[in-house]
Subunit: 328 residues, 4 copies
């Protein structure tokens, strides 16, 4: 028999991403809509261990749909990796009568949720929140769309100065394991080349492409590079390499960094967050557990957390070709 | 036997939308990639009739991926509704050796394309460009995503002043026949109520909802209203009606208007435009004609223009419920 | 002998403007810096009458420097226009041991402050917060710079669609009595003509200018119109008039409205707010009262509130000429 | 006797800055207004040497008032440092009948203009275009205001993630010799500390301040650092130093780089550019030469180029104190 859920806890964990606040708001309001209590847990699993909880009602999430970051704060928790830490966390939940959890975060956060669920049987649902879009089972993670807009806005500015000076810019964007940001933002920003972890372009081909680019009459160029690209050089080493091999270019480097994680979420991310929040609570109330809510073919669907963690979110290879054609 | 296509004409028609320039750029560069000539046609069908053409190569579309509006300009053409006008247009195409067309626009533009295709046999492909997202056969039209971001950005500003003064704002957004903008931007902006053409909410239910909103402790409220809502009153009349019936509210009106059509396209719209441009040219080169290229389940697919015109792009009813829950 | 000030109250009054929160933050933190207590008063004078007060320390104003609106809310107060209302307000201040006030607002708010100061002797300082820039004694009011950026951003979007369609747009901006927004934003947005309260251009000269504009080869035009212009027609009537007299133009109207009051403040407004907040508190602590802090020749200076209220903030006539030259 | 000026050349030189296009537009249209011819010179002095000229009329500068970068492109020219190079440049001007120059750029560009003016007697006027605001004789250089807004927008995003994770961010902004950007954007972004070339804060005082900041209950902190600060460590070395000495902080670095030079200019910069362009041409037509047009006390005034080059644009020390108070 399924225990009736009367109080849901919600937390954000791992790297923050735009839309997390909209998701918190949605979880809290959906709880209120279904007359279930809701409690915010601060600083992810660490706050769960330390008992850093707060009751939340519809008005506690007033005017946050458009705010970047997470009002519940986020943190990585080493303590939660120990059985003692998790036991302490569970005891705190029991004390507060929290009988289900919504976890907003990425891979690592879901792994924690699953372990916890298996150890103590408490129902959990995951909402994919990360700008990297590297989670299996959803076409879009929360914050991905916003991060793309941030990146193209910045590259638009860089292009102003690049084309005023006929320069080549190497722009490093986030993505250690996945090239989603680089590939989409690169196409969106009109990049000449895009280097991603999924493809080994090779230095020679890059030089060749830049040479051709110059010959074709392009006066300035942007190369977008994911952190985890396979070129085997840091972006600064790559600059030196191009300086030596293509002296006709004046090369500059820009590392976008953490600004990609912040900012007011795009409409897409706000709507997605609202939808996923509703579905996560409704699924718990229907007795489901151990799933991630995600977007598939524009529909909100459930994927077992186990699959979400193990699976790999492939890049769309059509985009590689589009990028190739666009940079002619 | 399919005539080999050697030269493609591209035009924008109807209301402009962000991403049209990115689509033009994509069509032009894909032609270059496949070593086919490309010609821009100014001011839509009217320019086709007047012979307002220009050769375009990869460098002619330099630095426009991020620009709003359309460098080819757009216009509505009464002359193209006459057989004489279309005959003149066709003769101009023959003179310039243009043997296929890519039409970027909405319903009306596609209807023109289809008639023209039937009369003269010239292959045509359509790219859906309109902020209204009201075209069957694609989950997203070019410019829709950008318009949503524009609308939520503006409502975020309005909410600043609304909540400083505890006011109710009626915000009218575009959408004569379709509530896509109102529904998505309304959820994204945290609107209390959303009025759309697809639903007749009724004045009484609206008043009731606003009364409840006040009682629940909300200090300010936003109602998002599509132009073509079914409430039977202009937004200004609605203000008067609320003034009379809910004197506890201080009501203000904001009509967003044409700003929704402009602005630098979002990354999503730029990538979509690039993909659709590639597919439209490739399809023509494969001998296809009479289709619209669109996005279905995140894949670029073809829909017969006839269906695209006749079909109706339904709103996602899940969003109505999400909106309902969010405004608790 | 000057009574030592131990506790300062701060409120926002009248129409809100971007930068008010940054000014509140500055007042609160400057109080803390000088070890003086600080109390926020909600909803302007009305909250003072109703005793709607809250202690504020440096952390209460955390993360608001970049927020539009005012966390203290604003309201117009009829009660404060009565001696009874003001008496009640004064008694509340006495009860809370507030012995000086900083008033952030416009003309009307300063008038109230002055009357109150004369009746009860409580020291007051004013910070000019209004987007209209219509206050004598400061080159810039808080929010003016931000509003200008909001207006040019929106007109940039409108121009995208205007030039795609060869249209004429009439854009109405705020400014019932002062043309500062229209004049500056008009130049910034590249407007063909600018109609302001300070000048009576006359319908004939406007038509003449638009005719010339068309002849000079301009394909699209923007006319920026202050609410209080002297043309004697509403912006919609003006559209009809141009429709009739210049049928070669396709005219559209856009009324920007309240969005101009909101939004994250520009860096200029944030820095200005910080400077004015510091000076207002320091002046009170030096025993000064009855002044407005403002910006003159880039320096923060004091102007007697009486002068600030009576004086008129003239438009810079050099700008009229610049506008004239730019629209050639 | 003053030779009547019939044709003015305009160029942009040195690092580009937002507002340069608006200034070009203003110079070109002011020439047209006074019925003087105007010629654009590409790539600064280098283009002058290579004869890279183009006639410009009012329509050539259509729709550029809002564009970042410079349509005339910019470059540094070694050849112009040689007498032969300058002679070649002069001969090109003579050939094109250009009899006066407007130079938009910074210190270095003005030095070149002055040498050229002394050697060949050709009248020159300078417009200060650089984001650094480091030119004597003007309170604001073109692009400074826009760069400040870009920086605070980015730091607002960084703060979202900083406060979600309770982190300390070191944000490096432009300014090798001048702290104007760091100081203003630091105050605008609510930075805890600001390191600038004009002040040697010293490592110990910085650590002390960060320690106090932590104790005062601040959960996250931003330190804004000008490139040319006097701390004697690179921003990455500084991170390591803080990591070792303040292990309670989790430190991250962000180097903003070239994005600060690009982007659509703010309304302030557009209006300033328009005013300076008008004045530069009018001054030439009045027979003046060897001056920079700038803003002093909100008025457009002339400063001899020699002074502009030699003088130093001091930071406003009041701002240091404001920053100090705000970070309490």
């Amino acid at each position: 028999m399924i225990k009736t859920i009367k109080k849901i806890g919600v937390l954000t964990s791992g790297g923050d991403s735009p839309g997390m606040n909209a998701a918190i708001r949605s979880v809290v309001r959906t709880c209120a809509y279904y007359k279930v209590e809701c409690m915010g847990i601060y600083r992810g699993y660490q706050g769960m261990i330390e008992g850093d909880f707060k009751d939340m009602g519809p008005r506690s999430v007033h005017n946050i749909v458009n705010k970047g970051g997470t009002i519940l704060k986020s943190a990585r928790s080493k303590d939660f990796m120990t059985p003692e830490g998790r036991k302490q966390a569970y005891e705190n939940l029991v004390k507060e009568n929290i009988d289900a959890l919504v976890i907003i975060g990425g891979d690592g956060s879901f792994t924690g949720a699953l372990v916890f669920n298996k150890e103590f049987g408490i129902p959990v649902m995951g909402i994919p929140g990360t700008i990297d879009n590297d989670i299996f089972g959803t076409s879009h993670t929360l914050g991905f769309d916003t991060a793309l807009n941030t990146v193209v806005d910045v590259i638009d500015k860089i292009r102003d100065t690049a084309s005023s000076h006929n320069r080549l810019f190497l722009v490093e964007v986030m993505g250690r394991d996945a090239g989603h940001i680089a590939l989409n933002a690169g196409i969106g920003a009109g990049a000449e080349e895009i280097l991603i972890p999924e493809e080994n372009m090779g230095l020679e081909r890059l030089l060749e492409s830049l040479r051709r680019s110059k010959l074709s009459g392009k006066s300035s160029s942007i190369v977008v590079i994911a952190e985890g690209d396979k070129i085997g050089k840091s972006v600064f080493e790559l600059k030196d390499y191009i300086d030596q091999n293509l002296p006709e270019y004046e090369v500059r480097v820009s590392v976008l960094g953490h600004m990609q994680r912040g900012g007011s979420p795009s409409c897409f991310d706000r709507v997605l967050a609202s939808r996923l929040g509703v579905k996560s609570v409704e699924s718990l109330l229907e007795g489901k557990s151990g799933y991630m809510v995600g977007l598939n073919n524009d529909k909100v669907e459930l994927t077992p957390l186990e699959q979400a963690i193990k699976g790999h979110s492939e890049i769309d290879r059509e985009l590689l070709k589009v990028s190739d054609i666009m940079s002619i």
